[in-house]
Amino acid sequence: MKCFRCGAVLTGEDYCPSCGTDVYAYKRILRLANFYYNQGLEKARVRDLSGAVVSLEQCLRYNKKQIPARNLLGLVYFEMGQTVDALIEWVISSGLYSKKNLANDYIEEVHSNPARLESLNASLKKYNLSLIYAKHGDLDLAVIQLKKVISMNPNLVMAYQLLGLVYLKNEDWIRAKKILEKSLSVDRNNTRTLTYIREAEIHIRAKYDKDGNRKRLKPREEAISYQSGNETIIQPLHATERGNKFSPLFLAAGLILGIAIMWFLILPSKIQSARAEITSQMKGVSEELTSKSAGIDDLNKQIETLERTNQEAKQALADYTGQGGVLEDYNNLLQAAESYLNDPDDALSAADYLEKIKTTSGNQISEEFLSLYKFLQSNVSAKAAEIYLKSGIDKYNDGAYEGAIEDLTRAYDLDQDSDQALYYLAQSYLKTDDKDKASELFQKLIDTFPNSTFKSRAQRYLDQGEEDNSAAETQQETPETPAAPEQSPDPAAAPADPAATPAPEQSADPAAVPADPAAPAAPVEQPATPEQPVDPAAAAAAEAEAAAAAAAAQAAETPAQ
């Protein structure tokens, strides 16, 4: 110990041996400071941190240069979560005595982990904020903040205390007690904490008394508590170990009872609820499946409908553009028209094209198409029929019956009113030994042309099998060409041709000639159609046809004369 005035080492006397200053009071002050330091140290050792703080602060009031006391105070603050308070004490300590001072190590240790220091500082900021909330009556906000503070800085005793106080204010006694008791693990003998706990306990007890739960509190009331150092020992007065030889039996019975309750009461309900849940899930899945199946059916129907529509569209397109389609018919009609316009006398080309036209009615055919078709048909078909008839008859006379059949078929197709074409067609079949076909055509002639000049000969064949071997003649030939008896190259043929010179003795049907007075009219009935005058070329063709018809009529009249 040194003199506070001259710094000389003091002896056991109350005066300084060097300067003679009275150091009695000084020595007592230093002794008191040391006493409080020792007290603080003792309290710190038993975790009575708040008590240690009090003692150490007292020590420093006597001697602020008591470095160990200041360092210990900083350490106690640090343990209580008051990091900044600890730093302040250590900084002061370091300032007072910088050499070989533990405070330097503590400061260095704290600053070595800036993140931890920042976290602790943030917790202190939140604590200050929650204190402000509590002072302004915002207790809910204060509780929220204090909970965060405790999670960040679990040793901050004053946060526990403030939270406990707020709980007490909210009359949440149990929580207050619980949180305050937690802080006792840091600071075991904090007066404020214990005061608050006691307050909470009083209210809890009062509440139990009010609720008639005295029995539960009785053991507590009958407990004795005593202080052992810094710890409060609470011991029940009638705490006895319950020893019983039947205890294992009771335990087993309880276990069995528990299992039985579980088996008969809890388990069935659990199973039932699980089943219900599964059933519900299955129902849901089933409904979903049904709806999806319905959706798939709908989609399949839509696909079928669309496929059908597609097929119809394809078919319609094929009808238009495919072989034999309407488009082809239009092309044929146009080509027929072109052929006719280029050469009105070339009826065969135009007729060929017209013959290829398959569709002459229906929605696909326009009125213009039909009009043009009829016009060409009327102008071309008759002329072509004549040409085919003439060609067919020529081939017939030449004995080329196959070719005759072909041409006469065409002639008849083009002119359905031509009994001559039909007759010589039947004759041609007869010559090729197709008698059935011939009979069929003869019958058709009789049925279709009851007034035909060929009817009697057809009838004779059908009735008597008499064949007509005479040469054929065309009715449309010019007056010079008909087979008049004197002009016929074959004299034997003349009497055989009913259209030319039907001999009365050769006719099996005497009424045949009178019955066919109108027969020559058939060729005459092929005049030009009303459309012919529209086209000069057609008109010319019609005039030619009229002339031919007139010649044929004249030729037909010749036998009658």
């Binding site: 000084y26 900044v84 900084v91 220091l117 106080l165 007490l168």
Partner: protein
């Protein structure tokens, strides 16, 4: 019975790291030893003056 308001007054805000320097100066209180030194110096002055 605890008075909440009174108890609340006992709680002081905690100093923060930024306040360390100010707090160091604020806590540089006069202790008993310093007081004694001042007293001794005062007495010495009086003696010299006498």
């Amino acid at each position: 019975m605890i008075d909440f308001e009174e108890e609340l007054k006992k709680f002081r805000p905690s100093p923060e790291v930024a306040d360390t320097e100010d707090e160091v100066h604020a806590r540089d209180d006069i202790d008993m030893v310093a007081l004694l030194q001042e007293l001794a110096q005062g007495k010495a002055k009086e003696k010299d003056e006498a």
